[in-house]
């Protein structure tokens, strides 16, 4: 085991930028390590990865100071093509990097660039596809792959080079839990069986942290914390301070003043039981909040839909009644029909069979009472400033009754204060999503539909967004939030609807839905760790960290009030 990447006093400032993106980075990476690199948005994580394989400074202009040695070679003296044989870089979105239409061609591209013969390429492609769980699919089309499989193909495309270091820039940020888990398992196997050094930059550290060996935290271009996985579990304050989301089990231990040894539920339960022996008092939490009967905002009856008359039913007899003022999380695996259902509700898709009513009226076309935030915010933004973007709806007759100055408070509360004159499309991913949400919230539609709005957001901003949405529901607005994130749904939603293969397979309170492992498994969802831990500790069904902590503390004091 030697040092494979050696950064000494590394600083980098992009051309046309005043502030450095990397500042005096000193980092020695041991061969065979599995590193999670995290930090708030814009802290320089992606920039650092680009420096590892020579894209910085060879292809991306700027001022580089200090040195970076890759496997003993000075990166300044080597070409990107040369460095890429040692350090391979994979990006966030597979659709942006997949170049070919067939799987074999995609994986073979890097090998052709290396000058390998067709026979060698064929052998290496087959071997690499087997590594990522796509064996025997060489001749398949890339369009036939699921989101998770496409990400693994993108991984195979860089892995074919047989790099010593694999650097991945937010590889799971847009994936559903099953796809993310599959990819992370592949990475672990590559690290353990093939000795490849892995560096993962990721916001979803609660999923990556349990499988990595070391963790690095960056802030404003600097390495501010570095340690082993175990150190990270013992010192979660380094992450919480920056609004990063740590595994719930670790968070609960930390809140109870305990040091977690791992993120595993069993270990956390053992640690807590040892310190709080009285925590096992069995409790019965209320399963469903009883609501007063109110007017229905959305009523869907026997809705069926198929894109192709000969194809499968994308929606297969959906029945759903959502009262005004409810906050609903719509969950399910990719292809379950969630987006198609949202399109029917907002009138983008014509109702062919069944019925959809909004506030008592049948949907006949695009309905202005519904606001929808799409999964890709870029395609929703088209004005030159944030201010124009947010006030666009008001200027076009939406949000009647709203005061022209109301949006300013919204801008501040959603973390966009001071950015009113910025070009929306030049903002970061998280900021762009927030502009899109603000542009709809400013009009206060009767119903809001949000498709994966928490992607790329750190915990603080998720709280800001959800806080605004909760306030909106308290005023009578209705929210349907499409998400794969069970922790967010458990923490904030009043009701969870789970879809699989075009059908609603569960529709109840978060507590009821997340207690049912069978439903979660069928929808490729993960039970929130807090719930698993509460179940293990006291037979409970807690939805968040606070709930478990409160129970354990109160039970131990002998004052649990239920």
């Amino acid at each position: 085991m030697g040092v494979i990447v050696d950064c000494r006093e590394l600083s980098f400032t992009y051309q046309n930028s005043e502030a450095p993106s990397l500042q005096e980075i000193n980092w020695q990476i041991e061969s065979g390590d599995f590193i999670l690199c995290t930090g708030p948005t814009g802290c320089g994580k992606s920039t650092l990865l680009k420096a590892f394989n020579g894209l910085i400074p060879h292809e991306i202009s700027g001022t580089l100071q200090g040195s970076i040695q890759i496997n003993g070679k000075d990166s300044l003296q080597c070409s990107v093509a040369n460095l890429s044989r040692t350090v391979s870089l994979m990006f966030q979105n597979p659709d942006d990097q997949i170049f070919s239409t067939s799987i074999a061609d995609e994986v073979g591209f890097a090998l052709e660039n290396m000058g390998m013969t067709p026979v060698e390429i064929q052998r290496r492609v087959a071997e690499t596809l087997a590594w990522v769980g796509l064996a025997g699919r060489e001749q398949g089309s890339v369009h036939a792959l699921s989101g998770g499989e496409r990400q693994r193909l993108a991984l195979a495309a860089v892995l074919a080079i047989r790099p010593q270091v694999l650097a991945l820039d937010e590889p799971i940020s847009q994936m559903d839990p099953r796809g993310a888990m599959e990819l992370l398992q592949v990475l672990r196997k590559l690290n353990e069986e093939h000795g490849i050094t892995i560096i993962v930059v990721e916001h979803r550290l609660h999923e990556v942290m349990p499988i990595c060996k070391s963790v690095v935290v960056m802030e404003q271009g600097r390495l501010v914390w570095q340690g082993s996985q175990r150190d990270a579990f013992c010192q979660p304050e380094a992450f919480l301070r920056l609004g990063l989301r740590i595994p719930q089990t670790v968070h609960i231990c930390h809140r109870l003043g305990l040091a977690a040894e791992s993120a595993a539920v069993d270990d956390a339960a053992a640690t807590i039981r040892a310190a709080y022996p009285a925590c096992s008092t069995v409790v019965q939490e209320p399963l469903l909040l009883q609501r007063e009967e109110t007017e229905l905002a959305i009523e869907v009856k026997a809705l069926e839909f198929q894109y192709d008359p000969a194809g499968r039913k994308v929606l297969n007899g959906i029945d759903l009644a959502i009262p005004r003022g409810q906050f609903v999380a719509l969950m399910g695996n990719n292809g379950a029909g969630k987006s198609t259902l949202l399109h029917h509700i907002c009138g983008l898709q014509r109702v062919r069979q069944g019925q959809v009513k909004l506030l008592g009226q049948a949907v006949k076309g695009l309905d202005r009472r519904v606001g929808m935030v799409m999964q890709n915010p870029d395609l929703m933004l088209f004005k030159s400033t944030v201010e124009q973007e947010i006030t666009f709806g008001l200027a076009h007759g939406l949000g009647q009754g709203k005061q022209s100055g109301d949006w300013r408070e919204l801008v501040d509360r959603i973390g966009l204060g001071g950015m009113e004159d910025r070009f929306p499309l030049a903002l970061s991913q998280g900021q762009r999503v927030r502009v899109a949400i603000a542009s709809l919230l400013s009009c206060q539609p009767a119903i809001m539909l949000l498709d994966e709005p928490t992607t790329g957001q750190d915990l603080g901003h998720i709280d800001d967004i959800i806080g605004l949405l909760q306030e909106y529901t308290q005023k009578g607005g209705t929210v349907i939030l499409c998400t794969h994130d069970t922790e967010v749904a458990a923490r904030y939603a009043e009701r969870v609807v789970v879809m699989t293969e075009g059908k609603v397979v569960a529709d109840a309170s978060p507590r009821q839905v997340f207690s049912c492992d069978e439903v979660l498994r069928s929808a490729s969802l993960r039970t929130p760790a807090a719930l698993q831990l509460s179940r293990r500790l006291y037979g409970g069904c807690a939805l968040g960290v606070e709930e478990v902590v409160r129970h354990v503390q109160q039970a131990s004091m002998g004052s649990y009030a239920g």
Binding site: K50, N53, L55, E59, S79, V80, A81, S84, R85, S88, L89, F91, N93, D95, D96, Q97, F99, S100, T101, S102, D105, E106, F109, A110, L111, E112, N113, M114, G115, T117, P118, I121, Q139, S141, H143, V158, I161, C346, L348, L366, R368, V370, G371, M374, N376, D378, L379, M380, L381, F382, K383, F392, G393, H396, G397, L398, L425, S439, L440, C443
Partner: protein, 295 residues
């Protein structure tokens, strides 16, 4: 139209899909040269039908035939109408009068608007030319992996920056079509209904509104793809694997294509020399007749 998969190349088990990309490009070059060089409506129509026939062989989907039909009909109609109205060669035969020269204002100003038979014929020939090229171009896009095209361009010593640029545009065109539809939808959801207005100012504004997000997304995506391929060793200073030698039957096909191009070009030159009174060879009278009637 907005479905991305209509535009993207898809692998399939047909002779056109299996054909080496070099042969395809050579065929495209031959068809283009003939489309430009031929002047008769009959041979051009024959060439056009042959190019459509290749779509049958490639088993193009119904959606692709629909796209092709829309482009061809719009192209055919547009070219024929414009030529029929604005044909200014002599002789020309008027077959209809749309605006009489005596009509106040517009008639006096334009001298009358007529439809000319020769214009229609000339338009049809031009439409067949562009239609043939379009049909073959789309066939190549729909049946050829962009990476194979890139490989071929680099094999033919095209600068890698230019080759990558060409391929990137081909690669992203389908995505852009798809995203345009999403942008329209997003704008409608936010209360913007450009289609309900006939104001040119509003239409221009709409164009910008659509262009902004598409352009921003395309730039981001192109930058990521460029970094990704460079990270996979593509670019200057590496020893790329060359394309393998063509199999013997395909080598013969290639030679055949070039021979046909050569014969066609020679015949065209010989006929042009005779037609313009530069050189006449009595023993080639049969060739001249064949050229005059068929080519």
């Amino acid at each position: 139209m907005y479905n991305r998969q209509v535009w993207e190349a898809t692998p399939a088990d047909t002779p056109i899909h299996k054909m080496d990309v070099r042969i395809k490009l050579a065929l495209l070059a031959a068809v283009m040269l003939f489309a430009v060089g031929l002047e008769g409506a009959r041979p051009l129509f024959f060439l056009f039908v042959c190019s459509l026939g290749m779509h049958f062989v490639a088993r193009s989907s119904v959606q692709r035939w629909q796209v092709l039909a829309v482009f061809l009909l719009v192209g055919l109609w547009g070219t024929m109408v414009s030529q029929a109205l604005f044909y200014n060669q002599e002789p020309r035969t008027m077959i209809a009068c749309l605006v009489s020269p005596t009509t106040p204002w517009i008639g006096e100003w334009t001298g009358g608007i007529f439809i000319y038979r020769e214009g229609l014929e000339h338009g049809a020939v031009q439409a067949l030319r562009s239609g043939t090229m379009l049909t073959c171009g789309l066939l190549i896009c729909w049946t050829t992996d962009p990476r194979q095209l890139l490989q071929c361009f680099l094999h033919w010593r095209m600068p890698f920056e230019v080759a990558f640029m060409v391929i990137t545009s081909l690669r992203f065109l389908p995505v852009i079509f798809e995203e345009t539809a999403v942008v329209f939808t997003a704008q409608r959801l936010r209360g913007f209904e450009p289609a309900r207005s006939l104001s040119p100012v509003r239409w221009i504004r709409t164009a910008f509104y659509v262009l902004f997000p598409i352009l921003a997304r395309s730039l981001r995506r192109a930058a990521t793809l460029a970094l990704s391929v460079e990270s996979r060793g593509f670019g200057r200073g590496n020893s790329r694997a060359n394309l393998p030698m063509l199999p013997l039957p395909q080598q013969f096909a290639c030679v055949g294509i070039f021979a046909v191009i050569l014969v066609g070009a020679t015949l065209k030159v010989i006929y042009s020399l005779q037609h313009n009174g530069v050189a006449y060879f009595p023993q080639l009278r049969g060739v001249y007749d064949f050229m005059a009637v068929w080519l």
